[in-house]
Amino acid sequence: MSAGTTTHDSAPSGVNYLTNGYSLKSWLLTVDHKRIAILYLISITIFFALGGIFAAAVRLELLTPQGDMMDAETYNKMFTMHGVVMIFFFLIPSVPATLGNFLIPIMVGAKDLAFPKINLLSWYLYIIGGMFGLYVAVSGGIETGWTFYTPYSSTYSNSAVIATAMGAFVAGFSSILTGLNFIVTIHKMRAPGLTWGRLPLFVWAHYATSLIQLLGTPVVAITLVLMMLERAFRIGFFDPALGGDPVLFQHLFWFYSHPAVYIMILPGMGVISEVVTCYSKKGVFGYHFIAGSSLAIAVLGFFVWGHHMYTAGQSTYAGVVFSLITFAVAVPSAVKIFNWTATMYRGSIRVDTPMLYALGFIGLFTVGGVTGVMLATMALDLHLHDTYFVVAHFHFVMVGGMVLAFMSGLHFWWPKMTGKIYPEIWGRVSAVLVFLGFNFTFFPQFLLGYMGMPRRYHAYPEEWQVLHVMSTIGASVLMLGFVLPAIYLTWSVFKGKAAEANPWQAKGLEWNIPSPPPTENFPAPVVVNEEVYAYSHEEVKALV
C-alpha cells in the first residue's frame, strides 16, 4: 500500500482514544469527537431497539384482521411511538452523529470538529429530547401519528402531545448544532492539499445533509411550538374552530419533514460511495456527479413538500408544480445509483459484509426510488395516498436504504472505531437475513396498498390477512437479522481479533492512522498530496 499522504504512523501500542481515561466522567464530559460518536452509537442503538419493539407490537396486532391483541388506542400509540422514536431519535442522528462524528474530522485531516464543546452539547440535547420521548413512552404514550396533524394533535388528542413535541423540538437543536459543526469543520479545517475535489464523497454527503439540518430544522421547531401554543393556550393557528387553517400545519410540517427524508438518506449514500469503491478496489466513477447530486438533492428537496398533500386540500395547481419538482429530484438519486454501478465495472470486487449491505442498499433503494416516482404522480396518489403502498415505499427508502447503509458503514468502520475485527461469517449471515426479512416484510405491503388498505388501521377486512401474515413473518426474520449484529459486534469488542490500521486495504486518511485512533487523531499535521479514491493503478480519464 503506498501511503500518498504524509502522516507519521505512531505505534498502535500507544494510548488511543478508548484507553485515554476509563472513568465515567472521562466519557460524559469528553469533547473528543470519537468518544461522542460512541456515546451517540450507544444511545441510538437503545432507541432503535425501543422503536423495534413498538414495530413488533404493530406487526403482531396485524396478524389477525380483528383488533384483538390490544385495544385501538394502544395500537395507535404503538405505531405513533414507532414513528417518533425511529425518525427523531434513530434515523436522523444515525449516520451523521455516529459515523459522521467519528470520521469527518479524520477524513479532513483535523484533530476534532470545529466546536468540540458544542458537539458534546449536541449529544446532551439529544439525550434530553430522548428523555422526553422515554417519559412519554412510560407515562401513557402518544397517539397522534408521528406527523402530529392538526387539529387532532392540537385539540382532540388526549395523549402526551406536548411532551413528545418538546422531545422532538429539543432533539432538533441537537441536529442543528451537529450540522453547523460539520459545515464549519469542512470549510475551515481541511488539511493542506485536501481540496474540495479531493474530499471523500462521505464528506460531501454530510455537507449537503448539514445544509438541510441547518436550514430546515428551525422550521419544524417553530411549527411544533405553534402547535403546542394552540394546544396549551388555545391560540388559533391551525384549528378552524379558533380561526386557524389545518392545512397550513401540513405545509409547515412537510417543509422540514420532507427535506428530513434527505437528512436521513444522504449520509447513507455517502457510506455507500466509500464502501463500493473500497470493495471494488477502484476509483469512483463520476466523482463530481455523485458529489453534485448530493447538493442537488439538498436544494431541490426543499421544494417538493407539497407532494405529501395532493389529496389534502392544497391547491390543485400548486400540486402540479410540486409534482414536477418531485420528478426532477428523482434524477440526482438515479445518478448516484448508476455511478455506483459503473464504479463496479472492471473492478476487483469482494463481497464482504459491508459490500453485501451496500449491494442490498442499491437494490432496495432502487425499488424505493421507482415507487417514489409512482407516488409523485398526482393521479396515482388519488388511490395510493395514505395506504400501505406509501408505508412500503418509505420503509424501502428508510430501512432498505438508510438502515442498510448504516449497517454497511458500521461494519466497514467497526475495526477503526473499536480496534477489533468482527466475525465475518456472522456478518454475512445477518446481512442476508436482513435482506430477506426486509423484502418479506415490506413487499406484501405494496400489494396491500394497491388493494386499498389504508395505513394506521388497527383492524382490516379479512381478505388481506394472508399478506399481513407474510409481512409479520418477514418482520420476525428482520428482527433476528438486527439482533445478531448486536450480539457479535458487542462480542468482538471484548473477544474479537485486534484490527490493523487498514484491514480492508482501503483509501482515505482514516486508514492511515492506528485502529483505534489516538485521541489527537494525527500525531503530526497532515498534508494531502494524493487524489481521492486512489485505488487504481491505471488512469482512464473518460470512458466515452
Binding site: 386540500g313 463496479m344 437494490g363 491505471e538
Partner: protein, 315 residues
C-alpha cells in the same frame, strides 16, 4: 374486464379506475425495467469482476459526460410523460366538474360518515349511488381531518374541518365496495368504514323514493327556525339582502369587490357574517358559529340554491 386476469388489483368500478390502473401499469413497466437493469448489472459485475487476488490492478475510469447525461435525461424524459398523464387524470377527479353531476354531501365526524342526498335520503357509513351517473362530492368535517376513500373508485380526498372539498367520479359497475377513512383521525379510525352500493338507475330511484324530506325542505325549516327569514326577505326589502337567485351569482361587497356566492361563501357568511358584507347593507347579522351543524349548513345552502331555481322559473 382486466381484474379477472390480475387478481392483485382491487375491483375496478369507476371511470377513473381503468385510467389509474393503466398509468400504474405503465409506471410499473418503467420501474421493473430499471430495477432489473440495476439488479442484473450489479450481480453480473459482482461475479464477473470478483477479486482474483489482492494484487488485482483496476483502471480508474473517471467518468463519462455522455453516460451521465444519458442516464439523467432519458429517464427524466420518460417520467415527464408520467407527469403529464398523471396531472390530466388528477384534474378530472378534482378540478373539472362534469356536466349535470349528481350531488352528494358528505359530513365526516369521529368516527362515522354521514351522507345526504339532495332528494332527501340520509345515510350513515353507507353510500348509495346509481351506476353511470357523474357524481360531485361536497365534503366537510365536524371535527378533525378525515379522508373519504373508495379503493374500487381509485379515489379519495381529505375531508377538512372548516372548509368544503370536492371531487368528481362516475361509478361504472354495480356492486358493493369498501369505503374507508384514509386520514388518521383518532381512536376508532379503522372503524370509520362503510359500504358503497352502486345500483342500477331504477333500483337507485326506488331507494331514493324511500327517503323523506329533501335537503332544501329541511333547509327551509332551519331558515325559519333560526330566524333568517325575518331579515332575508325575498323582495329585498328586509334588513338583509334577498337570497333569491343569489347562489353562484356575483355579489358586490362593501368596498366594491365582487365575490361568487358559492357554497364556501354562503357557509362563511352564516358563520362569520362580518367577513364579507354585501354592499349597501349593514353588518348587523349575528354569527351562527357553533349553533348549526355542518349538515344543517349544507341543508340551508341547498335551500338557498333552490330559491334560485324557483325564481328562474317565475321570470
Amino acid at each position: 374486464m382486466n381484474e379477472k386476469t390480475l387478481p392483485l388489483l382491487p375491483e375496478s368500478a369507476s371511470n377513473l379506475s381503468p385510467q389509474i390502473d393503466a398509468l400504474m401499469m405503465a409506471e410499473l413497466g418503467f420501474s421493473v425495467f430499471f430495477s432489473i437493469l440495476i439488479f442484473v448489472l450489479v450481480t453480473v459485475f459482482a461475479i464477473k469482476f470478483r477479486r482474483k487476488s489482492d494484487y488485482d490492478v483496476t483502471p480508474h475510469i473517471h467518468g463519462s459526460l455522455i453516460l451521465e447525461l444519458g442516464w439523467s435525461l432519458l429517464p427524466f424524459a420518460m417520467i415527464l410523460g408520467f407527469f403529464v398523464w398523471g396531472t390530466t387524470v388528477y384534474f378530472k377527479a378534482y378540478a373539472i366538474q362534469p356536466n349535470d353531476a349528481m350531488e352528494i354531501f358528505v359530513t365526516g365526524k369521529q368516527w362515522m360518515w354521514k351522507v345526504q342526498h339532495p332528494e332527501g335520503p340520509r345515510e350513515i357509513n353507507e353510500l348509495h349511488v346509481p351506476v353511470g351517473r357523474a357524481l360531485k362530492f361536497t365534503m366537510i368535517s365536524e371535527d378533525v381531518i378525515h379522508s373519504y376513500y373508495i379503493p374500487a373508485f381509485r379515489l379519495k380526498r381529505d375531508v377538512l374541518p372548516g372548509r368544503y372539498t370536492t371531487m368528481y367520479v362516475t361509478p361504472t359497475k354495480v356492486g358493493k365496495f369498501h369505503l374507508f377513512c384514509a386520514e388518521y383521525c383518532g381512536t376508532q379510525h379503522s372503524g370509520m368504514i362503510g359500504t358503497v352500493y352502486v345500483q342500477e338507475q331504477s333500483d337507485y330511484e326506488k331507494w331514493v323514493a324511500g327517503g323523506d324530506e329533501s335537503m332544501s325542505a329541511r333547509g327551509e325549516a332551519l331558515f325559519g327556525q333560526y330566524g333568517c327569514v325575518t331579515c332575508h326577505l325575498p323582495d329585498g326589502k328586509g334588513r338583509g339582502p334577498s337570497l333569491v337567485g343569489v347562489y353562484n351569482s356575483n355579489v358586490k361587497l362593501q368596498g366594491g369587490n365582487l365575490v361568487k356566492a358559492d357554497d364556501a361563501y354562503l357557509r362563511e357568511s352564516i358563520l362569520n357574517p362580518r367577513a364579507k358584507v354585501v354592499d349597501t347593507y349593514q353588518s348587523i347579522m349575528p354569527t351562527f358559529q357553533g349553533q348549526i351543524s355542518e349538515e344543517g349548513l349544507l341543508q340551508i345552502i341547498a335551500y338557498i340554491k333552490s330559491l334560485e331555481k324557483e325564481e328562474g322559473g317565475q321570470q
